[in-house]
Every structure is written in C-alpha cells, then in structure tokens.
C-alpha cells in the first residue's frame, strides 16, 4: 500500500516543495528526540525536577547583572557551606549533585576552611553594591571575578553533552534547568499530539465515512452527535471535560488531556471525511464495485476510505498543532499536564518571572514550540497544496 501511495501525483508534488521537505526534516528531528526520550535517553522526568544551579540563572548569551551575579555566588557558596555545616556533614556534602557538578572537596572541614574567607569578600562586595558604590570602586569588578573563579573551583566540570547544556538556557525560580525542561516538554508535546491526532482522525474517519456511506439513520445520528459537540465553544468543552477528572484516580496523569482532546477534535475530520465520502460515493468506480458484486462494507473499506487518506494526513497535521496549542492553554489553566514539565506548564510558571524581566523560561518554551508548530503549519499547507487544491 505504501508503494502505491508514494507513486501518486500528490506525493511527487509534495516532494518537490523544498520548504515542505525542510519542515518534514525538522519534524523528524523532533520525532527522533521524542523517541530517544521515550526510551529513556537524553533526559528523564525526574531529572527535570532536579536543581542544577542557582535560581533564575540567565542563559548563554545574556550577561547577568551584578546583582544577579552576587545572588548566584551566594547560592553556590551557601550550597556547599550549609551542607558542610549541617548535622550530617559528610552525607550532605556527598549528596550534592548539580547535574554532574559535584563538590571538588569531600571533607567538610576543608570546605568550611575554603569558603570562610570567600564569605568575607562576598559580604564586602554586597555592602558595596547596596551602598550603590559598586561601580565607583575600580577594584570591585576584578574582585568579583576573582571570587567567581574561586567559587568555580569548588565544583567539578560536568561530563557529557547534557551536563554541559544543562545551564545553556538558564534556570527557573527553583533552579531547574530550563533547557532540560524544554527538551522534555518535546516528549510530552509529541506524545499528546500523536495520541490525540491519531485517535481523533481515526474516530472522525470511521464515523464520517459510515455516516456518508450508509446514510439514513446512521447519518442523522452522527450529524446530530457532532452538531451537539461543536455547539459548545471549544475551550469550554475542553475545560469541562478536563474538569470532569478532577479528584478522580486519573488526575495527574495525561488521561484527562487525552480524553478532552479526542472528544473535541474528532469533529473536524468527521465533517471533512463525511463530505468527501458523500462525493466519492457517487463516483462511478464505486458503482462498478457494486456491479462486480462487492459487499458494502468492503467497498467502504477498500475503495472509498483509501481515497480519503490525503485528507486524513492533512487533518492529522492540523490536529497535531491544535493539540499542542490547546495543551498550552489547558496547562495554563491548571487543567492539563500536572506532574511533569510541558510548554504550557513552563509558560504558566514563567508569567511571574516575566514581570521581573526574566525571559528565559518563556522564551525557551516558546521557541521550542514555535519551531515545531511552524514546521507543521508549513507541512500542512504543503499537503493541502499538493493533495487538496481547493482548500482554504
């Protein structure tokens, strides 16, 4: 069947569209990342909740302000100091792991000895800063840099690509790696997109095809069904359906999200496929199939539905986008993804940060999402141009 598909005119037209091929490439990259994460590579869920650095660290191309640098310093120093100073110093010190950055000194006393003088320098610099005298004193900046260099020697260098990229996009207000969270969100987004788009298209095709082909009561029932569902505004429907699960056993999993999306998204493909099948039903090769003596079920499955596959693909890509965007909104309203990071969750958490001028979390989530959604938009446009020239 695949061979037949690839030979068709539409596919050849699609392949010639270079932009579409680039989009397909981008999507494949995202899919590859998804698979790797699904199999446990790259980053796992727990790791996205680990602290990797100070709070709200900036990403790789932004220059942190003096105040921020002082705050970071405080964190890095205090992290080790309070561990060494605690009631179980050795254990606490050994437990410190900033995603591959381990303390270089394992002996608590040595740690305290190293950091004590650093605290003095730190306090002086802070005092200078608070008195607004920091910029006046030419010595302050070099001293700060020296302090930072010292602090850096207290931690080992992270190994591996992930370790080094962990701080590339900064950290959120709880010190978690934005890069890792944004990356993991790909897994969630692709998962939701695939599941919901596939199921919605499947349901929509079956119902739409049956409605158009068998007509009569079946058609009336299915049209009534989708008229009913589509009369409730889509956000409201999503919310009501997701809210249904609050307090139930499924809360916290993705089941409410899947249910809400599938029950909302099946309508569009159903309408489209129904319209197409109604058109195809009248075509002569369908009549020929009847004349040859095929049963109706066989005609529907083998002759009509395969001629709607182009519409299924188009709808699939449109619904995929819809699912990702709707997930953002649902998560923002606390009805979507709960126990793991997703772009919606990140954006929700970022709203507070934006006010203080910190854009890394929202930026990362937006950019990662933007690339995927854009690629799918381009692809679905190209699909429509290639297969369904009369589209809007």
């Amino acid at each position: 069947m695949m061979r037949r598909f690839f030979r068709s005119r539409g596919v050849r037209k699609l392949v010639r569209d270079r932009l579409a091929m680039v989009a397909l490439g981008v999507i494949s990259i995202y899919l590859a990342l998804f698979f790797m994460m699904w199999c446990g590579f790259l980053v796992e869920k727990e790791e996205t909740f680990e602290r990797v650095g100070a709070n709200t660290e900036v990403g790789f191309f932004e220059e942190p302000t003096i105040e921020q640098r002082l705050l970071y310093l405080e964190f890095y120093l205090d992290n080790l100091y309070s561990a060494a100073d605690s009631r179980t110093p050795e254990a606490s010190l050994a437990a410190i792991d900033l995603y591959g950055r381990l303390p270089t000194l394992t002996d608590p006393d040595a740690v305290i000895e190293r950091i004590d003088p650093l605290w003095e320098v730190y306090d002086e610099l802070v005092e200078l800063y608070e008195d607004d005298a920091f910029s006046d004193d030419p010595e302050s900046l070099p001293r700060l840099e020296e302090l930072e260099a010292e602090a850096a020697t207290l931690y080992t260098e992270p190994e591996g690509l992930m370790g080094r990229l962990a701080l590339a996009l900064g950290t959120d207000r709880q010190g978690r790696s934005i890069f890792l969270r944004a990356l993991y969100s790909i897994k969630i987004a692709v998962q939701i997109g695939l599941v919901c788009a596939l199921i919605s298209v499947a349901i929509g095709t079956i119902l739409g095809g049956a409605a158009a082909f068998f007509g009569g009561v079946v058609d009336h029932v299915i049209v009534w069904l989708y008229s009913t569902f589509s009369a409730i505004p889509y956000i409201v429907l999503l919310m009501v359906l997701a809210a249904m699960f609050l307090g139930s056993a499924f809360e916290g999993t993705l089941v409410p999200v899947y249910t809400a999306f599938c029950m909302t998204f099946w309508i569009a493909p159903c309408r489209v496929i129904r319209g197409e099948v109604m058109k195809l039903r009248e075509l002569e090769y369908v009549q020929a199939a009847t004349a040859v003596g095929f049963g109706r079920g066989r005609i529907l499955l083998k002759h009509i539905i395969p001629n709607t596959t182009h519409l299924m693909f188009i709808n699939f890509s449109l619904l995929f986008i819809g699912a990702i965007k709707a997930e953002v909104i649902l998560s923002f309203l606390n009805l979507g993804v709960k126990n793991e990071p997703s772009w919606g969750v990140m954006i929700k958490q970022a709203t507070q940060e934006v006010i203080s001028g910190f854009f890394w979390q929202i930026g990362a989530a937006t950019v990662f999402m933007f690339v995927l959604v854009l690629a799918f938009n381009v692809l679905s446009d190209a699909l429509q141009d290639a297969f369904d020239p009369k589209h809007v």
Partner: protein, 339 residues
Amino acid sequence: MWTYILRRLLYSIPVYLGIVLLLMACLRVNDPVAGFLGKGASEEAYQAKKESMGLDRPFVVQYFDFLRQLVTFEFIKVPDEEVTASEDGGAAVLRSRGIESWSQEGRTVGQILRESIIPSISITVPALCFTLLISIVIALLSAYYRGRLPDKLMMVSAVLGMSISFLVYIIFGQYWAAYLLNQKLELEFFAVQGYEPGAANWAHYCLLPVLISTIVAMGYDTRFYRAVMVEESGRDYIITARAKGSTKRKIMFVHMLKNAMIPIITRVMSTLPFLVMGSILLEMYFNIPGMGRALLDSIFSNDFPVTQMLVAVFAGIFLVSVILTDVFYALVDPRVRLS
C-alpha cells in the same frame, strides 16, 4: 424560504437537547456537592445542599426541570426583594429567585450574566471590527500583489504569527505594552489589569486586550480571506472584466470584493457567539469581569449551578447564531434554498 428556516429550527431542537444532556452528564461525573463543600462537610450540610439544588432527584427529573428553567428564561432573573409589611413590621421577601450561585452569596446567574456581558462585548466587538478591517485590507493587497514580494511577506508573517501561542502574545503584550511602556512614558497608558465601565475608560482598560486579540486572529483570517480572493480572481468574470479593459484596482474593489463578501460575511457570522462569550484567556489574564471569566471562576470554585447554566446559555446562543448564519447563506445563495 420560511420552510428552510423552520426546518433548521426544528432540527436544532434535538441537537440542543443533546447538548444539555451531555453537559449535565459531564458535570455530574464528579459529585458537585462534594466538590463544593469539600471533604470535611457534615452529613446534614451535604444533604441540605443536595436538596436545595434538587440533586437528590433522579437524573431524568433533573433533566426536564433544567430544560424548563431554560425555556422559561429563569436564568435571567435577578433576586427581587419586595418589602411587605408583616406583623413584626418590615420584613423583606424575595419574590423571584432566579438561579442562585453557590460561591457568590446571594447572587444569581441572571445578575452575573447581566453584569458580565458588557465587559465581554467591549473587547470582542472592537476586536472583531479591527480584525475584519485589517485582514480584508491585507488580503486585498495580497491578492493584488499575488506571488510577488508583498504577498509573500504578508503570508509568511501570517504563518509565523500563527505558530506562537495565544498565551505568549498575552504575556508579552502585557509586559511590553503595559508595563514597560508605562515605565518609559511614566504614565499609565494601558492598564495592566482590571476594568471599569464607561467610554472614557475604554482605551485604558480594553484597548490592549483588543489589540492582542486582533493580532492573534489576523493570522488565520488573513489567510482565509486571501484564499477567498484568490479563488475569486481566478473566475471567468474577472478575466472578462480585464478583457473589457477595467483597471485592476476597479476590478478588485468592485467585482471581487462584492463576491468575496459572501464567504467573508458567513465566516464572520460564525464567530458571533464568541463575541458574547468573550475570550476566556484575555479576561482571565487582564482581570476583566466578563462572561468568560465568570465561567472560569465558576468552574474553579465548583459553582455548579452557575457553570451548568452558563454553558447551556452559551450553547444556546451558539446554536441560534449557526441558524442565523445558515439563513443568511440561504438568502444569499439561491442554490441552498432550493435543496
């Protein structure tokens, strides 16, 4: 013609019944009373609440009673006090109840509806107007310069714009326009949040949400209108007009726009119900007490009667507007009438 309208109306009845059924079923999956009162409620309080709403009755009874409330427009009613002189002297009696909200003491759905409709409309209607104007202009320009740089630029911007979440526009919009701008100009041009009625206050409170809404919708609308224009421009009558010697501009504005109006207006009409409902997200973010926010609040505060009624009302408005759209389309396109 009238038979068509009548038939549409008749057909909508089972659809609406289905909606109400679906709605009521969904909302009762989680016990609404338990959700509202929380876990620590006493047995008597639980029972009392349940009875006050009639939730102890069988579902079928509740279903028909709810329909009755809808048909008699009970959701519009506002608590009406009537002072009657009694033996003790001066006791207020509530005459008509309406449907009381659980979480907002003493307020009914009617009150909520009446109060929230204006804020919603003051955002959605101007947004619609702006979007319509700007999108059509851009679409016309795109069709005019079809295939050349301006067209490509506009369409690329549209696709780019469509790929960013609505929320991100809201967040950034609020940050830049309201927050930063206020700092730079040292005055409160755009309100960061909130709402006050009155035309004078409109620009301050509503203009920003309107602008954000417009920018987001423009991406989709422009592409749609452009496609409509492009399809029109390929039609034979346009070629005839050119052959006759009309200028390109005249063709565009006189011929094409007129015929493209039908799908455009149809589409605009299909967005009518959303005008009333307001954008939930905008209202939530900018703290505007509109219908969408009312619905959101009711869901999050487990305010069962309000949620149930608001969604039913929204759905009703939606159905009516669908019928209106179909009727309009039938008026304009004679082929539909004859079917």
